[in-house]
Symmetry: D3
Subunit: 183 residues, 6 copies
């Protein structure tokens, strides 16, 4: 029922149990596409795996510790965007996202992440947002670069993808920087 309008034909909606089937479908249709950068593809075998994920993310939301929202575009699930955690003590969060192959190239993710940044800085009053991308994942890096994040370092062997480690670029954005850009 509750949504966040991104543009005329796109909105974000908190994942709920009744979204299990469409969520599982888009993962299923994008296995090879997503598997390149997402470590959880091989452990998402059945509809029940997606349901377990949605239950855990609803739990995260009701503990005020982040959320995962589906990006709905023209009546279909296009991908997911969310906050991995919310650290109120230090004013920190981290944004994660992925898109189905058919929905790339429309600017959906830049607009979605931009909405989530507004929410994190203005509604949640956080101070710092982090985005991490594998060093080879140029398409993912385009998002923080387009939105004014700074590259702060390269974490070596940060993630294990099925049979090899990848390094992560850490991008950071501070509230004062976002407000300056918007001014």
């Amino acid at each position: 029922m509750f949504t966040y309008q991104v543009d005329e034909s796109t909105y974000l909606k908190l994942l709920e149990i009744r979204d299990t089937q469409p969520m599982f479908n888009i993962v299923n249709q994008n296995r090879s596409h997503l598997r390149q950068w997402m470590p959880w593809i091989d452990s998402t075998k059945k509809v029940q795996d997606t349901e377990a994920f949605i239950k855990s993310t609803l739990d995260k939301f009701s503990n005020s510790n982040g959320f995962d929202a589906a990006i709905w575009h023209k009546g279909e699930v296009a991908g997911v965007v969310g906050l991995h955690y919310i650290n109120q003590t230090h004013g920190l969060t981290s944004i994660g996202y992925w898109l189905g192959k058919d929905f790339e190239g429309k600017g959906l993710m830049t607009k979605s992440v931009s909405s989530v940044i507004d929410y994190a800085f203005h509604t949640l009053k956080l101070n710092r947002i982090e985005i991490r991308c594998a060093t080879e994942n140029k398409r993912s890096q385009a998002i923080p670069e387009r939105l004014g994040f700074s590259k702060e370092g390269v974490i070596r062997d940060a993630e294990y993808l099925y049979d090899h480690y990848v390094d992560h670029i850490v991008y950071g954005l501070l509230r004062r920087e976002w407000e300056e850009m918007k001014a």
Copy 2:
């Protein structure tokens, strides 16, 4: 972040922990107004009581067993609307609602409840919605009567309000009736 637009200047938003203060404020400003029909006013003494309520309703939401949403009107909390529970086995739910005194007479509640009915019948695919009003609470009864509910009975001594029992009128609306009205 996630909202449901009711009209140009009104939207519903799932209650979250960070809404504790404005929620407590409207209760506090409407104590005598709400106390007439709401049994929980005297046990809502401190901000912490409202926070405990919001935690319990978020829990209800993440178990797919109902929700409580604030009605935001021109930047202020005007009242609350929600589903007390969701019974998937028998296709049942029950709607509850209340409005601050300053927000009465604008049609806000009829529009809000109508949105929740659409959600219950079309998104949740339920079969029956119940609304219960004290027999003396004419203002509350106007909502189900305006929206086409049938009066099904009078439950005697259904609720204890501080020092006396009140009877409840039970109103029922079935999905097939709502669809006919909308056709």
Copy 3:
């Protein structure tokens, strides 16, 4: 160990785990008889289903939120009677019951429900007891009618029974009415 004597050859006993087998047996022997009005027959397939039910009802009892007792007649389980919930705030409860086919026509249920009413009004100090019966289930309606309940309304589509909805008659009894009858 703990029982409530109903008549010389009948007593009520709180369901415990060690009653799983006799409970499952009577359900099993009365499948078609009970299935007419009980929605849980088809999901009670194995002894483990009955054990899970008994665990959940013991939990309800130890939270002071109701109970389920077996009706033991001449050494055999004849049926079940209990309180679905106990609402101390509003002084409310609701009685449920069923009997195996071989035990009908002996007045067992009228006496058992009468005992439970005494307990709810005198020991628990509740104010109102509700009994709900499907509009076609005349045998069930005979109990509240014989015991002086008032018919308060008809809840349409209140229950889904495998392939169709049934309406429920709501019967109510207040403590002051019971005391008058007994005087």
Copy 4:
């Protein structure tokens, strides 16, 4: 509601939350009497302490791991008898009991413990019952001695009572012994 008749004027009833006040009262009236042998008197200061105890023992009961029952004599709580635990694997249990001063000398405890023994051996099908008494507590030892238990040993420093240790006599009774005595 559920009771076990011990004699014409005495019955056992599972402790429930609504028994908190009478239970606290008898403890309160017997502080010096009970404190001699019971280690929990000084930590039972308020009604809430008794309520917490009743909650924990109801939990024990609904896990099939023992129970505590009040001994009701002529409408008053006279004392408590129960099973500390139930070990199904090895067929073991242990009986505990205490009586208010005004109720001593009537044979209430011998009859109550005898009922609990029947229940443990015949309903629960256990094999061995243990009773432990402080070596100086002659009144308590009279119960297992009168009921045919064997003295199996003396556990030194088994219990700490406020400022000193006491030794425990261990009494044991096996099902075959009980059955022989009853034959």
Copy 5:
């Protein structure tokens, strides 16, 4: 990581999840040897059973209610020693232990139990330690006898071993006795 040195080639180490495989192996290699006195052999069928045991014992440790440690001798698991429970109120604990057949006759268990006694009396400040051995298990009895425990009694039918009951000798050791021996 954390160990307690017993002698040059032997140390105790708290059981952790990553010790599951070596623990299961020694049980597996000693089935007939251990089955004589240990009631849990037949229910330890798979590696998962050992893992569940380790989880439960880690839970016991983090609740300050006892522990189980593997005895590592020359790089291999030789057996287990631990505290079944810790009762701070009464200053009580009970030691349990077992050894693989190949590790008998080296004095490993006497030294290990002696270390655990020091820990219970000096670090935990307990007052009494109990050891229980089946009356026929002479090898097990040698440990408390060698370490100065007193024989306090014989608990009849204390344990069920697959198809028969065994009696338990109870041995007790008080802190003041241990300190005297060490003086």
Copy 6:
């Protein structure tokens, strides 16, 4: 009971509830010293706060998700070293540490962290260890630099210390690097 010997006069011991008092004491004696870099000093007001911390870290340990150990030097608590978390999927962990002022300058922390690195790479088989230090905390940075970590980046505004944000240097060490250094 369980320890890890670091040098002749120093060992690490898992924090347990009975270490609450000495742990609280060293924090109390080093408030101004620790407050410069530790965000939790002001919320550690009473012994109970330290006890709550120890409970949470024991929970972390028994879930195989890290640990906190006290550094004991000549019979006194000198500081703490531990693993913030253990991520088996990606082979990651992060080391944290602090020392009381009187124990600085003895090489205690370099030896302690070195032991923890051995444990993480050899016993836990992890692949990457991270250490984070505030950019101004030169004394802390000396540890990873001395032990061969690489500086991978600077996370801006990574931590909020009472009234200002500090940046964090991220240091990383991979197992293959540690093994080469040791070869």
